[in-house]
């Protein structure tokens, strides 16, 4: 398997840029997304970078970048192509339906595509910074019956097995997974490269295929209903203190120390 190189698929999600302070819609149905800067989910960038590095080490033969969602997701796929992915698959989901989509349906789509494309390594980010779910990799692995290496900070190939160092609560742990496998990237897995202008130009010529969830036999019926989206409680404005004595006195007064 390793000799011929792995066939890798990377999932990339388009999200509101991490630096944007989101605003809740007045009707409490969600957050404002129109006219707000979007970009590739930072964890997905790391997943793409890792796939490209594995290809540069000749461990991966082909990288397919996939995104599920409305038309604009194609920009996200183009970014992945400019970073070094070989071709793209856009799973078209109209904006209206996309609103109620959760990792459950995305995982089913990714699992179906992984089978169809005959890949043996699926790389995803550990979480999307919008829904903060941290579910898709694990669920896709389950649907495929593949092992999972979540929150990866190091990935290396060991014959037909993948060695993954994971970020866990107490520190790090290492597991070995029999390929095919799913890996989700943590922030420290690598430092993603910037797409250079020539590579952006080249990416425009790379192939992008359009598919519909129904082509893959995936039903998009919502499983979880959002009843409301609200602002979190605001903290009361605090005070500035001038001296350390003052700070200690204040903290003693309220019984914190």
């Amino acid at each position: 398997m390793a000799a011929a190189g792995l066939r890798a698929m990377v999932g990339v999600k388009r999200v509101i840029d991490y630096a944007v302070k989101v605003r809740v819609k007045p009707d409490n149905s969600g957050v404002v997304t129109d006219g707000v800067k979007h970009s590739m989910n930072p964890f997905c960038e790391i997943a793409v970078e890792e796939a490209v590095r594995l290809k540069e080490k000749k461990l991966v033969s082909e990288i397919i970048a996939v995104s599920c969602g409305p038309q604009q997701c194609q920009e996200t796929i183009r970014t992945a192509l400019a970073m070094g992915a070989d071709r793209g698959v856009h799973v078209e989901i109209p904006a209206k339906e996309y609103e109620s989509l959760t990792p459950f349906q995305v995982s089913k789509i990714l699992a179906a595509l992984a089978k169809k494309e005959n890949v043996n390594l699926l790389l995803l980010g550990k979480q999307a910074i919008d829904d903060d779910c941290n579910q898709t990799g694990q669920m896709t692995a389950a649907f495929l019956d593949w092992p999972q290496g979540t929150f990866a900070s190091e990935v290396s190939l060991d014959g037909d097995w993948l060695k993954v160092e994971r970020e866990v609560d107490g520190g790090l742990e290492t597991v070995r997974l029999k390929l095919p496998a799913v890996v989700t990237a943590d922030l420290r897995l690598n430092e993603p490269r910037y797409a250079t202008l020539p590579n952006i130009m080249k990416a425009k010529k790379k192939k992008m295929e359009m598919v519909k969830p129904s082509d893959l036999g995936v039903d998009l019926t919502p499983r979880v209903k959002t009843l409301s989206v609200e602002d979190p409680p605001q903290r009361k404005a605090g005070v500035k203190v001038e001296t350390v004595e003052d700070l200690v006195a204040k903290l003693k007064e309220i019984g914190r120390i």
Binding site: I16, Y18, K21, V22, V31, F43, P103, F104, S107, Q127, I129, D130, D131, D132, N134, Q135, T136, G137, Q138, M139, A142, F143, P147, Q148, T150, F151, S153, R166, E167, V168, D169, G170, G171, L172, E173, T174, V175, R176, L177, K178, D186, R223, V224, K225, L227, S228, V229, R235, G238, V239, K240, V241, E242, E245, L247, V248, K250, L251, R256, I257
Partner: protein, 337 residues
């Protein structure tokens, strides 16, 4: 008259169906533990499980975890401890635990399956949910009813209330949003569960844990955190000295982790740990959205930063605009007195 009687009967039946539903509500909590010790977040998860109404069982799976099973049997509100010991559970791999949980689910038909939203719970539960063909719900901070939950999205900048119509609700629970259940007073039966055949598609090799005598970050009453402003790993010693005076855990921003000042498991934030101590002291941390996500629910927040415009001051109850290299040693000295 007949019609009225019929209507009343239907209403009564309806009520009974509802109460039956409540009576048959049952929750399985997957206990997290490290060999001999129970991980504290399990106790917070049990409190959440009790709030769902209905019976609460705990699953303890591992290679050598009899002590943990004993411990859990004493937690009030736990009616049954399911205990599965097998070498295959070394490292608590999701690939091995999932079939065990499915087997238990087949036997006991729980309405809810939960675990703490720690690295362990986040890794395991979505796999279980997918195998049950249901959509899981991550990191809940509130339970409105057995099918309605509140969770945060966008790095804690919005609260999302969701209704889950799945036949089995699979939930991870934010530890800091629920009190820890008391550790004694209960007397649950311990029931042995035989382990399904090992899957063998993954293998746990080793762990490198960060050793520390300080309290564990996510359950500490006081947390002192440092950011890029500390400038080096050596300077973190200033924070350790301060933490010692306060019996505090020490956390960090991502910038401090990325710069190699401290190990990654100390990172507080959207993609690190969520803490909500009584006192959080942010030293040389600007207060980026992603950092605030992990500490905004602390009872009292103190900021030490030389930049008066730093966003951290917008959430701090007490702030000092000054050089941390002067303030922190002074604070430590004052506390020593």
């Amino acid at each position: 008259m007949n019609a009225l009687r019929g209507f009343l009967r239907a209403q009564r039946l309806g009520r009974r169906a509802v109460s039956l539903l409540h009576r048959f509500q049952s929750t399985l909590v997957i206990a997290e533990h490290a060999n001999e010790t129970l991980t504290p977040i399990t106790l917070n998860t049990i409190t959440a499980a009790k709030r769902l109404g209905g019976e609460v069982s705990c699953l303890v799976a591992g290679t050598n975890c009899e002590k943990v099973a004993q411990e859990l049997s004493k937690v009030p509100g736990v009616s049954k401890v399911l205990f599965a010991q097998h070498d295959a559970y070394k490292g608590l791999l999701a690939e091995e635990l999932t079939p065990l949980i499915l087997e238990i689910q087949k036997q006991f038909s729980c309405t809810h399956i939960c675990a703490g939203a720690s690295a362990f719970g986040k890794n395991l539960l979505p796999r279980v949910a997918a195998k049950l063909d249901v959509a899981p719900i991550s990191d809940i901070i509130e339970i409105k009813s057995p099918d309605t939950f509140v969770r945060t999205i966008y790095a804690g900048n919005a609260l999302c209330t969701v209704k889950c119509d799945e036949k089995i609700k699979v939930l991870s629970v934010r530890g800091t949003s629920f009190e820890a259940a008391p550790a004694s007073g209960g007397n649950a039966a311990i029931e042995k569960i035989s382990a399904p055949a090992p899957v063998g598609q993954s293998e746990w090799i080793e762990q490198k844990l960060t050793k520390s005598d300080r309290p564990e970050l996510t359950s500490a009453k006081v947390v002192v955190s440092g950011g890029r402003g500390l400038k080096s790993g050596d300077n973190f010693k200033l924070l350790y000295d301060l933490a010692d005076q306060l019996h505090a855990a020490v956390g960090a921003s991502r910038a401090a982790v990325d710069a190699g000042f401290v190990p990654n498991d100390m990172q507080v934030g959207q993609t690190g740990k969520i803490v909500a101590p009584e006192l959080y002291i942010a030293v040389g941390i600007s207060g980026a959205i992603q950092h605030l996500a992990g500490m905004k629910d602390s009872k009292t927040i103190v900021a030490i930063n030389k930049d008066p415009e730093a966003p951290i001051f917008q959430v701090a109850d007490y702030g000092i605009v000054a050089d941390l290299f002067k303030v922190v040693p002074e604070l430590t000295a004052t506390l020593k007195k």
